[in-house]
Each structure stands twice: as C-alpha cells, then as structure tokens.
C-alpha cells in the first residue's frame, strides 16, 4: 500500500507516529518522516494514523 503526506498541511502533531509507528516517525529535527510504501499488513494502523491526523494530511493511495 502507498502513503502520501501533504507537508503543506502537516503540523508535526505526531498522532500518526503513535498510531502506526512502523510507517511514521519523527526525525531528530522534529519533522515527520514516513515510508511511502508499506506492507499491506499495516493497513489498519495506517488508516488509524490517517483518521487521527488533526489536519488530515495523510492519504492512503493504494
């Protein structure tokens, strides 16, 4: 499955990092990093991350 994050919207709330730590993480400069393509077994976690994003910056595209 594929993930997109709109960095114009992202405010680094880190809710996605807690919902799907295998796909999203905060780097040392406190910016969000993520894997653009992850295994389908993470779908529920990634959907939780998208649902929990305060600014709706996360899209699941495949």
């Amino acid at each position: 499955m594929k993930i997109e994050v709109d960095y114009d919207l992202c405010e680094n709330h880190a809710q996605c990092v807690f919902a799907a730590p295998d796909a999203f993480r905060m780097n040392a400069s406190d910016e969000l990093e993520f894997d653009a393509e992850v295994d389908d077994s993470l779908r529920e976690d990634v959907q939780s991350a998208a649902d929990a994003c305060p600014v709706q910056a996360i899209r699941i595209t495949g």
């Binding site: 709330h13 040392a28 406190d30 305060p54 709706q56």
Partner: protein, 407 residues
Amino acid sequence: MTDATAARVVVVGAGLGGLRTAEQLRAKGFRGELVIVGDEEHRPYTRPPLSKELLAGTMSPPDVAFDVRADLGAHWRLGTGVAAARLDERVVVLEDGEELGYDGLVIATGVRPRRLPVPGPEADRFTLRNLAHSLALRRRLRAGVRLCVIGAGFIGCEVAATARRLGAEVTVIAPESVPMERPLGREFGGVLRELHESRGVRFMLGHEVSAFEAGSAGREVVLSDGCRVPFDVAVEAVGSVPAVEWLAGNGLDLSDGVACDGRLRVQGRREVVAVGDVARFPNALFGGPASRVEHWNIPVETARRAAATLVAGLTGSEQEPAHFGPLPAFWSNQFDTRLQSYGAPWLGAADVRLLDGDWTRAAEPIMAGYHRDGELVGVVGTAPPRSFIPHRTAILAAAKKTMRRTP
C-alpha cells in the same frame, strides 16, 4: 439479526465521532443502510480551527470540511436535529416529525456551549462551538474592538489569542487564579498567563460575572464585586453541556452525557452505542469512575470501538473484550505556542512536576508531568512533539502496571 445487509444504522450527530463511526462500520463490513443525521447544514468538519485559523480568517469553511469518501454510501439528513428517541421501539424522531426506525443507533450528538446563568441583554454576546458561531464572531473581531472573554479555559484562551492578534483589546474574566487552572494546575496556568500578558491580553481573574447590562456608556459586564467592564463583543467560553435531551424518557443515566460500558454500549443494549464528547465511558487505563473526555482523539478512538460493538451486535458475532483504554490527547495553539497533552493530567493536577524547562521562563519549552499516587498519568507541555514520545510511553507503562494491580 444475521443478515446485516438489510439493517439500518442511524448515526445521530454529524461531527468527527459520527463520521468516523460511519467509516468504521463500513470498514468492518457493514453493508446495510447508513443514515447520518446532523442539525447543521454542513457535512462533518474539523472544529479546532474554529477558535484559531477560521476565526482569524486564514481559513475558510471549505478548508475545515472533512474528506468524505464517496464509497461511504451514507444517506445524509442535514439541517435537521433529532427531537426524541424511543429505544424500546428502535425509533428516533427528527425535529421535522419524521420517525426513523433503526437496527443500530449511534449517539454522537456531542456537546453545546454552556451559557452563563446571569441576567442581561443577549446582544453582542457569542459562544463558540460550531461553524456558524465562528463565522459570526469573526465578523465582529477587528483592531480596536473591545472583546470580553468570559472563561479562561482552552477555548477562551484560544479566542483571546486569535482576537489579540487581530488587534482587538482583549480582557479575559474568570473565577480561577490563573488560566486553565483546573485542568493544568497553578504552575502551568501561570506560564500561560505570562504568555498571554506578554502579548497584551488583560486578565481579570478571581471574578464571577453577575450580569450583562446596557447602559448609557454602552454594554458592560458586571462582576460580582460590582466592578464593570465595558465591551463591544463578549464571548462566553464557560464549558459545555452534553446534548442528550432527546434521549430523555428511556430510563438512561444522562447525568453527564450518556453512560456506557467499555464497549460503548448504552444500557447494555447491543444495538445502541455512544461516541465522542457525549459518551461517558470507563477507561481501563486509569480506572475510577466513567467520564467524558473532550479531547481530540476520543471521537476517533470511540468510533472504532463502537463500530466493532455494533457490527458484532448486528451480525450476532462475538463482542470484543470489555477492556477499553484509549490514551487521551489534545493540543491547543495560543499565539506561537503549541500546548500538547497526553493522558489524563486532570487526574494528577495535585502532583505536578516539572520534567523540563523553567516555570518562570514561559517563552521556553516546558514539560510537566501529572502524577496520581506517585505514578505518571498525564503530560502537558510546550516542548517539541518528539519530546513527548518517551513520556507518553511512560504513561502507558505506568497505567498498565496499575491495571495489573487492580483485580
């Protein structure tokens, strides 16, 4: 019922909780009819910008709308409130008199602003909960306007910050000794007071409002000590009241929202669940009495849980375990500071410990830990997001330890 394709689920409330529950019902395989009832004309939208970007005019209504997937397949009944429910008959009654039968009911009506129980004319007084409230207030906020904010909680302080940035002359009146004293404690409240005062917000704390008056000099807030504060615009930000009147007459415990169990079932009914701000549920992480939690992630977490309960009830399959323990989280932007919170700081407000920063340096990052019986139950701070991660993990670890001790 085993054939859930012929079933109808009615979701009462078209906010975040209602939308996420509808999505989760579909995600969990519910293919029946989905009706979403909302008293506003709008489809679901995100509320946090109502006191910030939307109020400031840097966002407009389309910017706050949630994306609704076309394949949700919901029938929207917007602009119609709900008047009553007869749970024994599985019927809800809309304000226009229509009766909707259901096989599953989702209670997601949220809260509305509490009003000050004081006499005086209504003109120029505002509350802030929905899109219409925000747009109406936005039309009145400009440089030089004298704004009186009654209440020094999160909404009151956010409105104060937004209005001050627009150049309004802002006075915040509240009974506490510092802003946000009850949820965050005196030390953190002092930090926030300094933050606001440094930007020109005036606080009149330790005061109760006894009336609004319209005199020859214009409108005034009258305080309990007789002091008068002239204003052009007043905002009452004094908390919220769960929207549960429509559920009266069903023998429910509606004393503070809708009482539910850990599966979010109301009165143990398999076909009625409550989600979001209106749901009073027991949280296994923290124990103690069931409570409502008006934090950002609770509608999302309760929606997931409630949808699982409802689908299990509709298909006759096994319910999920009773244990439900979402970790509350919210944030609040005030001027250039973002406050974030994880856990249940209100349970630990009597034992607040500084984890990082300095109480006397409001402009620098602060992290505060809230403890109950010596255990970390919540963390609130203005520090960068990444620094919350270990504290959040520690809250969860402490909560799980406590859970193991509790029979």
